[in-house]
Chain length 450, copies 2
Amino acid sequence: MSENVVIVGGVAAGMSAASQAKRRKPSLNVIALEKTEFVSYGSCGLPYYIMDIIKKHTDLIAVTKEKFKTERNIDVQTRIEAVSIDPKEGKIHAIDHNEKKDVVFPYDYLAITTGASSIKPAIPGIEHPGIFLLRTLDDGIAVKGYIKSFPVKRTAIIGAGYIGMEMAEVFKGLGFEVVVIEKMPNILGTMDEEITSVVEKTLESNGVRILKSTEVKSFDRKDSGMIKIETSNGGFDVDMVMFGTGVKPNSMIAKAAGALTGAHDAILVNEKMETNIPHVYSAGDCATAKHIVLKKDLYIPMGTTANKQGRIAGANIAGGDETFKGVAGTAVVKVFDLEVARTGLTEKEARDYGFNVVSSVITSRTRAHYYPGSKPITIKVVIDKKKGKLMGAQMVGGEGVAKRIDIVVAGLYEGMTVGELSRLDLSYAPQFAPVWDPLLVAANDALKKV
Amino acid sequence: MSENVVIVGGVAAGMSAASQAKRRKPSLNVIALEKTEFVSYGSCGLPYYIMDIIKKHTDLIAVTKEKFKTERNIDVQTRIEAVSIDPKEGKIHAIDHNEKKDVVFPYDYLAITTGASSIKPAIPGIEHPGIFLLRTLDDGIAVKGYIKSFPVKRTAIIGAGYIGMEMAEVFKGLGFEVVVIEKMPNILGTMDEEITSVVEKTLESNGVRILKSTEVKSFDRKDSGMIKIETSNGGFDVDMVMFGTGVKPNSMIAKAAGALTGAHDAILVNEKMETNIPHVYSAGDCATAKHIVLKKDLYIPMGTTANKQGRIAGANIAGGDETFKGVAGTAVVKVFDLEVARTGLTEKEARDYGFNVVSSVITSRTRAHYYPGSKPITIKVVIDKKKGKLMGAQMVGGEGVAKRIDIVVAGLYEGMTVGELSRLDLSYAPQFAPVWDPLLVAANDALKKV
C-alpha cells in the first residue's frame, strides 16, 4: 500500500516539499492542504500586483492547483484548514470550508508548512475598513480592490521594514501621499545606519514623509471613510493604512501536538527538517533556520529559505538524506532607484551577539569613472577584529547590489577572510564596475583595521 | 640618500606600482617612464570612446601626469622609451622622444610594466591606411579621427574575441555594416559553444555578419580608399578594418636583460611580483599570473590583474611583504543586449588540461516569473566529476551576469563544491532573480552528475 504524505500549507515550502517528495518517490500519495483558495504564489510580488505592474493576481501563481494534479499527480485541496495533529494515530483533523464539515487525513509522513502571519498590533481601531496587512494573496486582492473602489489620496504605512519600504514606492507610484510611521529610531532595522541613511534620503527626495521613534496610539474612521491616526508625534488623516510590522510563525497546531519551538516560537527543526515528533517535518516561514555565522537556530522567514527547506523536507520524506546547510541572513529590497542588501550580521547584530568586530564603510561607483550611467554604491563590511574573518556586509546603490552581496554570501559560507576577499579576481568591464570593484575597495579598506 | 624607483610603462600596473610605493614609503624617489604621451588611461573604454558615448579621449584618463606630480609627488615622464636594462649597474637606457636624445635613469628598484601589444599578423597589405589595431589611447584617437574624416560605411573586424565583439556593437551603433572574420570555428574562443551560440544569435539579429573558420589572405587598398579583403571564404570591400586578434606581452627589454619568461613569453614573476633579477619587479600585461584552479603560471592579461599586481609590486618595492594570490581567468564583456562572462576553466580548457570534468547547462530567467522585464540567462557550470569541486562557470544573459559570475569566483578561490554552491543563501527579490537563483538551478542540475 502506498504511503500517505500530508502537507499542511500550500505555498513555497509546502509545494516544494510536495513536489520533491513525489518526484523522488512516485509511489507516495501526496496530499497538500491549503487554508486559502490559492497555492504556490509568489507573495514577494504582492506590492507590484498592487502597483499594477503585475496585472492579474493569477500572474503571481507559479503552478496552479490543477497543474499540480495533472502534471505532478499531487492532490492539492484548498480551503481546508488543519486544526490539530494527532501524532499517535498519524492523523490531521481539519475543517473543509468548501463543504463546511470536519475532515480527517491519515498520514505516514507530515510536513507542517503553515508559513507565517502578519503581526497585527493591538491598537484600538485596527479593525476598521481601510486598514490592511499584506501577506497572503487574499490580502493583495483586498488592497487592490480597495484602491479601485475608494478615492485614495493619502496613505500611511506602519513599519519601515522591507514591506514598508516597497509599499512606500508602490503608493508613491500610484500617485498617493505617503507617510511612513516607524516605532524605532531607524528605518530598515535589520541594517546599520550608514546604509539606512542613504535609503532615508531617497525616500525623502521621492516625497515620502518619515516619522521615526513614533508610536501609533489609535485609529478612528470618520463617516467620510477617512482614517484618523493618533500617534506619539501628532495626528494624521489618511484614506488608507498598510501594516508592515513583521510576521510571526504559524506554529500553533504543531505546538499543540508537542512540537518544540525555538526563536520567535518558530517550529524547531534539525538540518534534515525534522521536528522532534517522529515522521513530522517542518519547513519555511513557520520553522527555524540555522544561521551559518552564528551557528544558532534563528527565525528569519524568507521565500528562498522556504523553497530550499521545503525541497529538503520532501526529499527526506521520500527516503533521501539531504541536509539544509543554513541561512546567512541575506536580503535585498528595491526602494525607488536604490537596491539595498545585507548578508551575515550587521555591526549592531554582531556586537549584540558579543563578537569583537570592526567595520569599514566606503562609497564608490558602479561603473568605470568614464562610463556614463554610473551610480554611487555604499558598502559596509563587518569583520572579526582578530583574524579579519567576514561577519557580514551591507550595500546600497543604484545598480549591481543584489548579486554583488552574493559574493559575500559565498565568502560567509566558506569562512573567507577580508584579506581573501580583497584578492578575488572579480569580473570587470567598464559597464559593470570600476577596475577596482567597490567590494574590493571595501575589503582593502577593512583590511587596514585588522 | 633616497632610493630611486623606476617604473617602465605608465598605464594600469605601472601607475598602481608607482602610487603604492610612494604611498607606503614617501622617501622613495619614484619616476615613471611612458613611451606614449598618455598615462593612467582606461583602455577598456576605447570602444566606447570610438562610439562617442565617451566624448573626449581625456575622459579616459584617471589621473593626469600633472596630478601624479602635484598630488602624489611621482615624476611621470612621457615619450620616454626604455630600450635596455643594465641590472649590474642598476640603470635604464632610454630614448627621450621629446628631446630626441639618449637618456639614462639609475634605479635601486625597477618595475617593468610595459604592458602588451596587439598582435598584427603578417598579412600582405596590413600596413594600408584604414586598417587599425585597438590597444593604446593613440590607437583610439586614430580610429575616431579616421571615422570623422572618411565616409565609413562598411567595416570588417578581424578576430571574434572580446575586443572584436565590443567593436561589432560599436560599429553597428555608428550605423556601419559589420562583418566579423574569425579564423577559428567559434566566436569568443575562451568560452564554450553553449554560451557562444547565444552570442552568435544576438550578433546576427543585430545585423552583424559572422564568418567563422575564415582566414584573411591579403588586404589591398583601392584609389577610392576602399579596402579589399581576400579571405579563404571570398572577397569583401570595406572602408575600414579593425584587428582584434589578441595581444602579446612587451617582454623584450626584460628578456634581453636576463629575465626569465613563461607562458606566451610573458615575464615570469613570483607571488611577490619579483622577476628572477634582483630588485627587478614586473606586473600587468607583460607578466605571468598564477591561475588559482590550475596552479600554473599563465598569461591572461587583464586590467584588473594589472592594477592588483602593480599595487603589490609597489608595496613590496617599498619594503612590504604582499603576495598576489592569483587569477581565476574571470572576464565579462557586453555584446549588444547581452552580458557574457566566464571564470575558472571552460569545459574545453579543463579537458585539454586533463581534468575529469562534467558540466551542466541550464537556461532560466533573470527575474521572478511574474515580474516584468525578465530576460533569459544561460549558465554553464563545469565541475570535477569525482568530488563535484567547482572548476569554472560561464554565463550569458540580458542582465545580472557580471556580478553573478563573481559568486563563482569566490567559490573557486575557496575550493567550493557544487553541492555547497547549491545551498548558498543568495539574495532574492522579484526584480533581481527568481526565488531559485539561476546559479542555484545550475548547481542543482550539475549536482546530479557527480
